[in-house]
C-alpha cells in the first residue's frame, strides 16, 4: 500500500442517481464557478493568472472566455491588493470570489483578511457585508516548493468574522463552493490541491439525502468501533485506513468535518457518542491545531461515554518540509493505524 497522498482512487457518492456525473475535483470546482457566474451577475472571479491561463491549477479554465474579462480577470501579483480590492468591491455590491494562488501566499494578505475582510461587517454594524469567497489551494502532498503547501485552517478559524470550509471530494467541492459563493459572509474555501485530479461521482442535483445540511459535517463511512475525524485531503486517506482496518475486524466511522468554522459540534458528538472513541487527523502542525478544538468539543459532549482520550494524528511542529520528506510529515496510513491502536488499547490507570 502506497503512502502517497495522490493515490486513493475514485470516490463514489452513496446513492448515485441518474444525475450523477464523474468529474475530477478540478472539473467540479470549475463547473461550480461557471454556474455561480451564470446565476449571479454580481459575482467576480479574479486573482493571479485566473484569466487567460485559467489558473495554475486550471480551476478557472475557460471562464474568462465564457463570462468575459470584466467578470473573470487577472490582477497584478499582490495578494494584499487582491484581498483589499475584494473588500472595496464587496462594499460596491459585488460578490468577489478571489483566489490566492497557493496557501503560503495568503500570508502577505493576512492583514487585509484579518483586519478588513473579517471585520467590515462588524465595524459597519452590518451595513457593509463582506460576501467574499476566498479560494485557497491548500495543504501539501504535491512535492511543491516552499510556501506552496501549508495548512492554515487553525489560523483562519481563530479569526472572528471568518468562516472556513474544505471539501474532500468532487461532489463536496461542487456543492460546498456553490453554497459558499452565495453566502453573505466571508468564507475561506480551502481546496485540497492533492485531490484536484482525483475523479469522483458528482450529483449536481444533490439528490443524496445523506448530504445533510450544507453547513454540517458528513459521515462518509459508517462504523461502530471508533470515529476518524478529518477534512480536506485527509478524508480520502482516512477512508483508505478504514478499509484496511476493516480487514482486521475494526469497524471505523469516518466523519468529514467539512466546515472548520463553525464546526458542526452536533454531528461530531452524535458520531462519537455512537463509537465512544475518536482520532482526529490533520496535516497541520499539532500544537494549537484544530485537532485540539475538535478534541475539546468531543470531550465536552461525550466525556461520560468516551472509552479513551481523543487521539490526534497530525503534522509536526516543523516548517512544512521539502517534497522528499512530506510523506513523513503528512499523517500516513501507518501513523493513523497507530493512532487507532492507541485508542482501542487504552486502559484506564
Amino acid at each position: 500500500m502506497s503512502n502517497s497522498i495522490l493515490e486513493g482512487g475514485t470516490t463514489v457518492a452513496a446513492g448515485a442517481t441518474a444525475n450523477t456525473v464523474v468529474l475530477s475535483m478540478q472539473q467540479a470546482l470549475n463547473r461550480a464557478l461557471d454556474e455561480v457566474l451564470a446565476e449571479n451577475p454580481k459575482t467576480l472571479v479574479f486573482g493571479e493568472d485566473c484569466g487567460r491561463l485559467g489558473g495554475v491549477f486550471r480551476i478557472t479554465d475557460g471562464l474568462q472566455a465564457k463570462h468575459g474579462d470584466q467578470r473573470v480577470f487577472d490582477t497584478p501579483l499582490a495578494e494584499s491588493g487582491i484581498l483589499g480590492m475584494s473588500v472595496g468591491l464587496a462594499m460596491a455590491g459585488f460578490h468577489p470570489i478571489p483566489e490566492v494562488q497557493f496557501d503560503g501566499f495568503a500570508y502577505p494578505a493576512i492583514n487585509q483578511i484579518v483586519c478588513q475582510v473579517a471585520r467590515m461587517n462588524y465595524r459597519s454594524r452590518g451595513t457593509l457585508p463582506m460576501p467574499i469567497t476566498l479560494r485557497v489551494p491548500s495543504f501539501g502532498g504535491i512535492r511543491a516548493p516552499e510556501h506552496h503547501g501549508e495548512s492554515l485552517e487553525a489560523l483562519f478559524a481563530h479569526v472572528p468574522g471568518l468562516k472556513v470550509v474544505s471539501p474532500s471530494n468532487p461532489h463536496e467541492a461542487y456543492h460546498l463552493l456553490k453554497y459558499a459563493a452565495t453566502r453573505p459572509d466571508p468564507v475561506i474555501f480551502m481546496e485540497p490541491k492533492s485531490r484536484y485530479w482525483q475523479k469522483g461521482d458528482v450529483d449536481p442535483a444533490r439528490a443524496d439525502a445523506a448530504d445533510g445540511a450544507p453547513t454540517g459535517a458528513k459521515v462518509m463511512r459508517e462504523g461502530r468501533h471508533l470515529t476518524l475525524v478529518a477534512w480536506g485531503a485527509m478524508v480520502a486517506r482516512c477512508l483508505q485506513v478504514a478499509g484496511l482496518a476493516a480487514e482486521d475486524g475494526i469497524d471505523v466511522e469516518v466523519l468529514d468535518l467539512r466546515w472548520l468554522k463553525p464546526i458542526d459540534a452536533g454531528s461530531l458528538a452524535a458520531s462519537v457518542r455512537k463509537t465512544r472513541r475518536a482520532v482526529v487527523v490533520h496535516e497541520a502542525p499539532l500544537t494549537s491545531g484544530l485537532g485540539a478544538e475538535v478534541a475539546q468539543l468531543i470531550t465536552q459532549a461525550c466525556f461520560d461515554t468516551l472509552k479513551a482520550p481523543v487521539e490526534r494524528v497530525t503534522g509536526f511542529d516543523v516548517p512544512y518540509p521539502s517534497g522528499d520528506l512530506e510523506d513523513e510529515y503528512i499523517p500516513n496510513i501507518d501513523r493513523i493505524l497507530f493512532g487507532i491502536q492507541r485508542v482501542l488499547e487504552y486502559k484506564r490507570g
Binding site: 467576480l44 470584466q70 490582477t75 497584478p76 499582490a78 494584499s80 491588493g81 484581498l83 483589499g84 480590492m85 475584494s86 473588500v87 472595496g88 468591491l89 464587496a90 462594499m91 460596491a92 455590491g93 459585488f94 468577489p96 492583514n111 487585509q112 483586519c115 478588513q116 471585520r119 467590515m120 461587517n121 462588524y122 465595524r123 459597519s124 454594524r125 452590518g126 451595513t127 457593509l128 457585508p129 460576501p131 472572528p160 468574522g161 468562516k163 453566502r183 453573505p184 459572509d185 468554522k261 463553525p262 464546526i263 459540534a265 452536533g266
Partner: protein
C-alpha cells in the same frame, strides 16, 4: 508639482462664488471649534481619546467639499473629522468611535458615503480601489476618494493600491495629507523620493502637490482630480502639504520629538486665519459674518457634545449579532451564556 492635464469642463474651471467661499469658511470654523472642543472633552473625561487635526482644516474641508455624495464614496482613516463634517455626516454618530461606543462609528456608511473609521492607516486605500473598479464594472461615474497620510504611504498597501488603480484605470483620487509627522517621525525620515506625489510618475499617474493650507487651492485641485477620474482617465494623486499642529492623539506628547520653536516654524500661517484675511481683503465677508460663523460653530459643538454625552453603551448582544450576516451556532451559544452570566436571564 502639477502633472494633471487641464480640464476643459466649465464647472471645474469656474471660480468659487462668494457664497461658496463663505460656506467654506463656516465649515472650517465649525471643524476648528469641534476639533479643539474634542480635546477638551477628553481632558474632561467625556471621551477616552481623540486624534486632533488642528491645522489640517483647509486640506480636509477643501477636499471634502469636492465630493458629490450622490455618487462618490470616501475612505477615511481616523483623522478625517473635517471631511466627515463637510460631507454632512451625523457628527454625534461620528464622534461615537472616540467615545469607544463602537469601532468605526455609529453612522451609516452607505447613507453618508463615508466608509467606517479605520485605524490601519493604509488599510482602506485598497478598498477605495476596489470600490472604484466596481464603478467601472457597473458603468457608473462615481469616484472613490482615499485619505491617508505621509506615514501610511510607507505601507505596502499604498503601493499595491496605486499600482492596481493605475493598471485598471480605476477612478480613485489618492488624497495624501502630508502633515509633516507620522506620530514622532518627520516626513524626511518617512518618505523616500522627496514626496508622495513624486511616486505617482512611477505608476504613470498624474499628481498634484498643493498648498494644503489654502482651502481654495484644495477645492480646485480636488475638483480637477475628480473630473479627470470621472471622465475615465484613471487615478490621480494629490499631496496636500500641511502641518499637524497638535499631538498625534490625546495620548501623545509632541514635546518629546519637537520644540515649540520648530512647531511654530513648521506650521506657518494658520489656514483659518489666512482664509479669513483673504475674505476680508477681497470684501467677501466682514466681521459680522465671522462672528456669526463662530456663534453657529459654538452652538453646533454644544449640540454634538450633548449628544455624545447622552450616548450610552451599546447593548451587549450586538457584540454577537453583528459579527456575521448569518450567525453561527457557536456564536449563539456564546451569546446565550453571556446573557445568563452577565444579565442573569
Amino acid at each position: 508639482m502639477d502633472t494633471l492635464p487641464p480640464v476643459a469642463s466649465g464647472d471645474v474651471a469656474a471660480p468659487l462664488a462668494p457664497a461658496q467661499l463663505r460656506e467654506l469658511y463656516s465649515l472650517m470654523v465649525a471643524v476648528r471649534h469641534l476639533d479643539t472642543s474634542a480635546i477638551a472633552w477628553q481632558r474632561q473625561g467625556l471621551i477616552p481619546g481623540y486624534a486632533p487635526e488642528l491645522g489640517q482644516e483647509a486640506a480636509q474641508v477643501g477636499s471634502g467639499y469636492a465630493v458629490d455624495t450622490t455618487r462618490d464614496f470616501v475612505f477615511p482613516t481616523y483623522r478625517e473629522m473635517g471631511v466627515a463634517r463637510t460631507m454632512g455626516v451625523d457628527m454625534i454618530a461620528y464622534m461615537s468611535t472616540h467615545k469607544a461606543t463602537w469601532h468605526g462609528g455609529l453612522y451609516n456608511p452607505l447613507e453618508s458615503r463615508l466608509a467606517p473609521i479605520q485605524a490601519v492607516v493604509a488599510g482602506s486605500v485598497l478598498h477605495a480601489v476596489g470600490w472604484a473598479h466596481g464603478q467601472t464594472l457597473d458603468h457608473k461615474d462615481g469616484v472613490a476618494l482615499s485619505y491617508f497620510g505621509d506615514g501610511a504611504s510607507s505601507q505596502g498597501d499604498v503601493h499595491e493600491a496605486m499600482n492596481f488603480a493605475a493598471v485598471m484605470k480605476a477612478p480613485v483620487v489618492f488624497f495624501v495629507q502630508n502633515n509633516g509627522w507620522a506620530i514622532s517621525v518627520p516626513t524626511e525620515r518617512q518618505v523616500a523620493g522627496g514626496s508622495v506625489a513624486a511616486r505617482a510618475a512611477g505608476y504613470g499617474m498624474p499628481a498634484l502637490q498643493i498648498d494644503g493650507d489654502d482651502v481654495v487651492a484644495v477645492v480646485e485641485a480636488t475638483r480637477r482630480a475628480f473630473a479627470h477620474a470621472r471622465a475615465g482617465n484613471g487615478p490621480v494623486v494629490i499631496e496636500a502639504m500641511t502641518y499637524r499642529r497638535g499631538p498625534h492623539s490625546t495620548s501623545d506628547d509632541p514635546g518629546r520629538y519637537r520644540s515649540l520653536a520648530e512647531e511654530r516654524d513648521g506650521a506657518g500661517a494658520d489656514p483659518l486665519e489666512r482664509f479669513r484675511q483673504r475674505l476680508l481683503t477681497e470684501g467677501i465677508a466682514d466681521e459680522a459674518f465671522f462672528a456669526e460663523a463662530l456663534a453657529a460653530a459654538k452652538a453646533e459643538e454644544e449640540q454634538i457634545r450633548t449628544g455624545v454625552q447622552a450616548l450610552g453603551p451599546r447593548p451587549g448582544a450586538e457584540m454577537f449579532d453583528l459579527v456575521f450576516q448569518e450567525t453561527t451556532p457557536t456564536l449563539q451559544a456564546q451569546a446565550a451564556s453571556w446573557r445568563e452570566e452577565s444579565e442573569h436571564v
